[in-house]
Symmetry: C2
Subunit: 392 residues, 2 copies
C-alpha cells in the first residue's frame, strides 16, 4: 500500500424527500445568496425546482437561477455563470442535477474567485479556492456529488478537460433516490456503467498488498451487478435505486481507491468519443472499457482472474488462468449489453474512420499514459479498433 | 435502506513516517497552542513523542503535555486535562496514542467548552462544540481516529459511558502503520477483534435491501480474516499492518453502517466486563460476540448464513441452513482463538459468579435494548452464561 491523504468532508443527506431540506443545509454552510444551477426543463417539469425554491424561501435564502447545462457541459455557460455570480453577489452555488450540472457549478465556483480565464484551471493551474457548492443530485453516475473533480468541454475545438481540487468538494449533497426514478432506462444504465468504470479505473493497479481497497472495490462492483438489472426491469424500485445511488458516491469519493496507483486510461480514451459525438459518457465507457481490458489483461492475468471470480462468479480455471481472465471480460461485456448499453462503435454511433482523429485529439504524441499499463498512441489506436469491432 | 446523514470530515494522513508532518496539520487546522495528550511511557521510549515535539517546534506551534491515559480512560484525568487547557489557553488537543488516548482527548476537548461537569455530556446531554482534536494513531482498533465517539469510565462505581457528536470528529488523523509494529501480539489481536466487532454491530440488522453496506461490511471482515494472522505471525509485516490500520478506520467512521438499523448490544455487554475487570475491550468482545451470535442467530438464520458463506467461506447447506449459520459462528470463534484471543470467562479472567453484578450494572431494568434483537436483562444473563462456559 502506498502513502495517501484521504479527505471527504461533504455532508451527505440521503433519503426520500430530503431535497425539501436543502434550504437548511445552504444556511448551515453559510449561503445567503445562492445561484441555482440546473440543466434542461425536466427539473422544472418534475416539480423539483419548485421544491428547491420553496425550501430556500422557507430558510430565508435569496437566489438567482441559471439553467441550460448540457451533457458534456460547455465553457460558454461557465463564463455566463461566473459573470452572473459576480454581478449578483452570489456566495454559494446550488447544483440541481447530475454530473454535468455539478461539474459546471464547480467550474463557476472556482472561476468566480479566480482572477483570469477560468479555463487556465482546466489546463493545469491548481485550484486553491472556490465558492462553496451544494448539490441536489438527480442521477447516480458521475460521483461528482462526493468528489473534488470537474470535467468541462471547450466549445472551440471540442476539447474535454478535467481538474480536481479539495476546494471543489461539495459542502453538502442531497441524495434522494426517488428523484432518479423518472430517468429513462438508457440514462440509468449509462450512470451504472460510469459508476462501475470509476471502480475499475482504481481496481486495475500495479500496487501490491491492497486487500482492503480491492475488497471495497469488489463490494461496489457486486452491488452494481446485482442492483442495476433490477432498476432496468422496474424503474420505480426505490431500494435498488437507493443502493445504486450510494454506490455511485462510494465509487468516486476515493474511499475505494486510496493507497494504490490508479489507471484512468479508459476515461481518457472515452472522453474523446463523447467530445466528438456528444454521446453519453457512460455509453462511451461501455464500448471502451471492455476493449481496454482485452488489450491489457495479459499484463496481469491473475488480477483479471480475481475480478472474474470475485465479481462475476466465474469458476477459476486453475489449469489455464487466462481463460478465466478472458471469461471475466466477456461477462462484463454481456452484463453491459444486458442493461442496454452499446458494445461497439456502430451501436454507439461512432465511426471507425474517425479513429485517427480521436487519437490525434487524445494528444499524447510520443509519450505514454496510464497507471496500470502505459499506453502509447499506437496502443490507443488498437483499443479504439477493438472497441469499433467488438461483438458479444 | 433507511434515510441517513453521513459526515466524515477528518483529513486522514496515511503512511510511513507521516507523524513527522503533524505540526503542519496542526497549523492547517488552526492550532497555535496545543495539548499533547498521551498514555504511558512507550510513546516516549519509542521516540514518537520526540518526533511529535520536533514537528510542532518546526511549525512554530507551542505545546504543553499531559500523559498518563490508561486503557478504559478515566474521568479523573479528563478533569485534570480540562483544567490544564483552561489555565494554559490551549486551542487544540493532539492525541498521540490509541482509542483510549483519543477518547480522553475528545472528552477534554468537549469539557473545556462546556460550562458544567463534563460527565453530563456522557449522561445524555448533547455535545454542540469542542476544541479541535488532532490524532497521531498508534494502534488499529477503536476507530476513534475517524469517529465522533468517545467512551470514558467514571472511577466512582466504575461506570463506563459513551457519547457521540460531529463536534468530536478529529480534524486530522495521522495513520502510520509502522507505529503499530511494536505492539505485542495480544494487543494487536485485541485491536483486530474490536475492528471486526464494529462491523458486526452494523452487519446484523433488520433493515432489508442494504446490499451496498452489506458488501462493504463483508469487504472489511474478509480483509481482517486475511491480514490479522499475518501480523500475528510477523509483527513487522508493514503491508498487513497497513491494510488493518485502514480497515480499522473504514470499520467505524460509519461508511459501512449508513442506512441501516444497527445493534451494539455486544459492545454494551462487553463494556461491563472491561469496566469491572479492567480487561482489554477487544478481549472482552472476543468472549461476548460469538456468545451473542449463538443466542440471537435464530432471529435471522439466513443473515448468519450470508456471513458464514461470504466472510468465512463456509459451504451453504441448502437442506439445513441452520447448520451453515452455526458453522459460521464456530469459524469466527476458531478464528479469534487462532489469533490468541480468550473465548470464555476463565481465559479472560472473569468470574461466572459476577454475572448478576454485570447484569445489574448494565442497568436496563425491565426495558429491552439493541437494534437486531431486543434483549431483556434475562437475555443478557443468558449471553453472559454462554460466554462464561464457551468452548471451541
Amino acid at each position: 500500500m502506498e502513502s495517501f491523504n484521504f479527505y471527504s468532508p461533504t455532508e451527505f443527506v440521503f433519503g426520500k424527500g430530503r431535497e425539501n431540506e436543502c434550504g437548511r443545509y445552504v444556511k448551515k454552510y453559510g449561503g445567503t445568496r445562492v445561484l441555482i444551477h440546473f440543466g434542461g426543463g425536466s427539473a422544472e417539469r418534475s416539480g423539483l425546482l419548485g421544491k428547491v425554491r420553496r425550501s430556500l424561501e422557507e430558510s430565508g435564502v435569496d437566489f438567482v437561477e441559471l439553467g441550460g447545462v448540457q451533457p458534456n457541459p460547455r465553457d460558454s455557460l461557465v463564463y455566463k455563470g461566473i459573470e452572473l455570480c459576480r454581478s449578483e453577489g452570489i456566495d454559494m452555488i446550488l447544483a440541481v442535477g447530475g454530473g454535468s450540472v455539478i461539474d459546471s457549478a464547480k467550474a463557476i465556483a472556482a472561476g468566480v474567485l479566480y482572477d483570469g480565464d477560468f479555463w487556465d484551471l482546466y489546463e493545469g493551474r491548481p485550484i486553491e479556492r472556490a465558492l462553496p457548492v451544494g448539490v441536489v443530485l438527480t442521477i447516480a453516475a458521475a460521483g461528482s456529488e462526493g468528489s473534488g473533480d470537474s470535467v468541462i468541454t471547450k466549445e472551440e475545438g471540442l476539447l474535454k478537460r478535467g481538474t480536481g481540487s479539495d476546494a471543489l468538494r461539495p459542502r453538502f449533497s442531497v441524495l434522494d433516490p426517488e428523484l432518479t426514478q423518472t430517468l429513462p432506462a438508457y440514462q440509468t444504465a449509462c450512470g451504472a456503467t460510469d459508476i462501475m468504470a470509476h471502480v475499475f479505473e482504481r481496481y486495475f493497479t500495479n500496487t501490491r498488498e491492497v486487500e482492503i481497497t480491492d475488497r471495497l472495490c469488489e463490494a461496489v462492483l457486486m452491488t452494481m451487478v446485482k442492483e442495476t438489472p433490477r432498476v432496468i426491469a422496474d424503474p420505480d424500485d426505490y431500494q435498488a435505486r437507493a443502493n445504486i445511488m450510494w454506490a455511485g458516491m462510494v465509487a468516486h469519493n476515493n474511499i475505494v481507491g486510496v493507497g494504490r496507483e490508479q489507471d484512468w486510461n479508459s476515461h481518457g480514451i472515452e472522453h474523446e468519443l463523447s467530445a466528438l459525438y456528444d454521446c453519453a459518457h457512460g455509453a462511451g465507457l461501455a464500448v471502451i472499457m471492455p476493449a481496454w481490458m482485452e488489450f491489457v489483461y495479459k499484463h496481469d492475468v491473475m488480477r483479471f482472474c480475481q475480478m472474474a471470480t470475485r465479481v462475476f462468479g466465474v469458476m477459476m480455471d486453475f489449469e489455464d488462468p487466462e481463460k478465466t481472465a478472458v471469461e471475466g471480460i466477456r461477462r462484463f461485456r454481456l452484463f453491459l449489453h444486458s442493461i442496454g448499453m452499446p458494445i461497439n462503435f456502430a451501436e454507439l454511433g461512432a465511426k471507425e474512420e474517425d479513429i485517427p482523429v480521436l487519437v490525434e485529439k487524445f494528444g499524447i504524441g510520443d509519450s505514454r499514459t496510464g497507471g496500470f499499463v502505459h499506453l502509447s498512441a499506437k496502443d490507443i489506436t488498437e483499443i479504439y479498433n477493438i472497441a469499433a469491432k467488438a461483438e458479444l
